[in-house]
Assembly symmetry: C2
DNA sequence: GGACGTCCTAATGTCAACATTCAGACATGT
DNA sequence: ACATGTCTGAATGTTGACATTAGGACGTCC
């Protein structure tokens, strides 16, 4: 009943800090991440920072070039399209595979918390955290390690894109989050694979549409 | 017209050598990859080997645990199911996105080479290399970097699984490769997204079935 | 003024020494 | 015999020094 206890190294720690800093806006898209600076700020060796940056590159949050350093990714409309088209395929598969395995009460609780927060005027960033946790729960339920890996490879990028969606698009996000996720729970409960797949994909595509409207003009 | 010239570091080099060794059977599934040994054999520092192993972990070929070293992945039926279900979703998306962009003559040439090799009694390993190149071509044509990344995250595992399919299953692979890929080209030419998606997914699932028949009994 | 070659600097790439952790062998006590 | 505690060796984790590279600043030549 006990999950294996995991120790962590400085690289994971560094990756966490840098990721949070990127989400927090300390390193805007396109900015350079210098290993020496990061090492000094985090008080770890450059080697550990390097390894941490490799983790973030795996998540697609940053990009490294030979002897040219690593930069935070850009957030162009094309990038959004790439990320969300892959995400749609993954969410479709995940939804299908999660039928009969997800803890529906846990999902409902998450949606209820979102609804409550929405009514109480909680900042959209917090709703987004619940949003992601909702999808994490589904992926975990599939117990498909490769699928979960593939999700992690876009998750941070999704997070970053959704943050800009929130920050640029006023209340558009708040207007749809709760309903869309509650609908997803309902379909998962009904258990029709085809319907779940289609809705999950549509859920992602609608997010993309909302985003591109704010990126291009 | 010129692609940017890419320099490479020792880490990529090390990753290539180790990957080839795994494919070649020098490190069977489950075996340990000791950094000191590898560093000595490759005549590079442990740091570079470490970074190379991180690359292979990104490809899903090996798995590392904190202070417990890295091992080559296992090839259980469950692992095959995980890899191929994700691959099916990706191939479906890739096929759809490649319509109208992929170089159909290049694909045809690949299939023809396969057919010729099949008739000439070329080893199945070579056919497999062409098989993978066929799919690489499709993914590249999509110009979707995230999709290509996701493909790279399963590609080496697919390679390894297909190698065991070849080595255990005598001529089952040779009997279907050419026809399936020629059919794929035909559908890509016709350009109906739904048909391409469905066939690409089925193509992967049939490979999974052939594989599980040889892994479980 | 523009094309070219030469430095110089600031960053990354590589390495070898040191620190830490794990897993098993062994001993001890009950 | 079993459980527990201790030790040890072999591996990984971490670090700081050194090597290499990219790209700009500068000067020269035409």
């Amino acid at each position: 009943m006990l999950r294996p206890a995991g120790r962590r190294g400085l690289a994971e720690e560094a990756a966490d800090r840098i990721r949070d800093a990127i989400f927090g806006g300390d390193f805007p898209p396109g900015s350079a991440l210098r290993e020496v600076d990061l090492a000094a700020q985090l008080d770890v060796s450059r080697g550990s920072v390097r390894e941490g940056l490799a983790i973030l590159e795996r998540e697609g949050l940053v990009q490294s070039e030979w002897h040219r350093g690593t930069k935070v990714i850009d957030l162009t409309a094309r990038d959004a399209e790439e990320v969300y088209s892959v995400r749609a395929a993954l969410e479709g598969l995940a939804g299908r595979a999660a039928i009969g395995r997800v803890d529906l009460t846990a999902l409902t609780r998450l949606v209820d918390t979102m609804a409550g927060g929405l009514a109480d005027g909680v900042p959209s960033e917090n709703l987004l955290a619940l949003d992601i946790e909702f999808h994490d729960t589904i992926y975990q339920a599939t117990a498909n390690r490769r699928l979960i890996e593939a999700w992690y490879a876009v998750r941070s990028q999704v997070y970053l894109f959704q943050l800009t969606r929130i920050r640029l698009g006023h209340n558009e996000y708040r207007a749809v989050v709760v309903d869309e996720h509650r609908q997803m729970v309902k379909l998962l409960e009904r258990g029709e694979a085809h319907a779940v797949t289609r809705f999950a994909e549509e859920h992602v595509h609608s997010a993309l549409r909302a985003l591109t409207e704010q990126l291009s003009p």
